[in-house]
């Protein structure tokens, strides 16, 4: 096995050994899909939107994946910055540390998405399962990018996790089916993934343009995350 593969496996193990992570992995998707689906409908009504029923359940799974991925992305950077930098200095190099970190993050994102998708499938069912899974995965990958970027800029755990939560709330409540989704809401990172997920929940397909936008947002977020990991592992000026 290469140094990157071994490091990536160790970084992944590090997160899966955290009891709180495992608990959240099970609890959050269930909470968002089962409980939030109806609450989401009420919120949407209050904000002038219309998301409800199966679409709301599907969107709940996406938001569960996003929230978990964002939090884990943030803590991957903030809790390991010093040790990662030491490993890079020891000869691994900042690029290889960043690649190992992003491979662990993508694996975590896949795992989170699978759990959220399975919860959705078991609890509410979904008309377009492949579409729904792809959109949920996009939610997770986009929030890995957001979490790691925040982690590379803000080192304090409280300030950083609040920032991720703030971005999440703005994103969630300005999304399609919630506050109407016009204006700046069009620019929110999960906008198109939410469109695809709502459509999948309602048993409809999505236009090719939406899929391209979802793919670009997910790939852009992963590129951003890789840069954030690299910035955290290299020598710094202060």
């Amino acid at each position: 096995m290469t140094a990157i593969a071994i490091s990536g496996a160790e970084f992944l193990r590090e997160h899966l050994r955290a009891r709180m992570t495992l608990a959240m992995l099970v609890v959050l998707p269930a909470l968002f899909v089962l409980v939030s689906a109806s609450v989401l409908g009420e919120f949407a009504k209050a904000l002038g939107g219309s998301v409800a029923g199966d679409s709301a359940s599907a969107l709940g799974a996406g938001w569960a994946a996003a929230f978990l991925a964002g939090a884990l992305g943030f803590f991957q950077v903030s809790s390991s910055r010093g040790a990662d930098r030491r490993l890079a200095l020891a000869g691994m190099g900042a690029v290889r540390v960043a690649v190992a970190r992003i491979s662990a993050s993508v694996t975590l994102g896949l795992l989170i998405s699978l759990v959220a998708f399975a919860t959705l499938l078991l609890a509410a069912g979904v008309a377009h399962p492949p579409h729904a899974f792809a959109a949920i995965l996009a939610f997770a990958l986009i929030y890995i990018g957001i979490g790691t970027l925040v982690g590379s800029l803000i080192s304090d755990p409280l300030e950083g996790s609040l920032t991720v939560a703030f971005i999440f709330l703005i994103d969630a409540f300005s999304g399609p089916g919630m506050s109407g989704g016009d204006g700046i809401a069009q620019l929110m990172p999960t906008r198109k993934a939410a469109d695809v997920l709502i459509a999948a929940g309602a048993g409809q397909g999505s236009p090719t343009g939406d899929w391209i936008a979802v793919g670009l947002a997910a790939l852009g977020a992963l590129a951003l995350a890789t840069i954030a990991f690299w910035l955290s592992a290299r020598s710094r000026s202060s």
Binding site: S7, E10, E14, R85, R86, L89, A90
Partner: protein
């Protein structure tokens, strides 16, 4: 066993940090032309008061911090033991050795032999399967030191490496350092204990951002 050519040469190191927010942002100059040298087979001390910039100078020399001015030249393999153990809380002692063995590009047999010898030398074999979060401060510090030593560096930079050690381990640390000096390793130790000066070949004192050979 000292060479005339230094294995580490740092000259005129300058480093400052910006503090505060505009319009009250100011530059705090920590290092203002600090210089030092370490040769093979030499045990050199870097002393100074708390906050004098010893750790900053060490980080600049190691390459963890970018410098504002001056030059650093190093030769051979570098080992670095930071003041605060930089470890992953959820990984075990053995997993740390494995990660660093990969970073140092040690072969499997070489890595096993090196980690085994250090576990025995620092007497913490029984903790090799423990996660870092379950270790005492002293045992974390032993691992912190062992990771800097496992590839037998030519130049070893230690930033107060014995904080948390009990007396026995503290004495063993100095035995280890002196033995490695005898084998030709160049060692720079950050310390603030005057009592340790007799163990050192040379001592630099850092004051007002500059070093003076004491």
């Amino acid at each position: 066993m000292t060479d005339t050519e230094p294995i580490l040469s740092a000259e005129g190191i300058e480093k400052g940090f910006h503090r505060g927010l505009p319009p009250h942002r100011r530059l705090v100059e920590v290092l203002r032309g600090a210089s030092l040298e370490v040769r093979r087979g030499e045990l050199v001390g870097l002393v100074g008061e708390n906050g004098s910039g010893k750790s900053t100078l060490m980080k600049v020399v190691v390459g963890l911090l970018e410098r504002d001015g001056g030059t650093v030249a190093r030769e051979g393999k570098l080992g670095y033991c930071p003041q605060t153990p930089l470890l992953w809380e959820k990984l075990t002692v053995d997993e740390h050795f494995e990660l660093f063995a990969r970073a140092y590009e040690l072969g499997s047999a070489e890595a096993t032999a090196a980690s085994g010898a250090l576990l025995e030398e620092l007497q913490f074999e029984r903790y090799r399967g423990y996660r870092i979060e379950d270790l005492s401060g002293g045992t974390r510090q032993k691992l912190n030191l062992a990771l800097a030593l496992m590839h037998t560096p030519d130049l070893l930079l230690l930033d107060e490496p014995y904080s948390g050690f009990d007396w026995e381990t503290y004495l063993r640390f100095w035995e280890m350092s002196e033995r490695r000096r005898g084998e030709g390793m160049g060692i720079l130790i950050v310390s603030h204990l005057i009592s340790e000066r007799e163990r050192l070949d040379r001592v630099y004192e850092l004051s007002d951002g500059r070093t003076v050979e004491a």
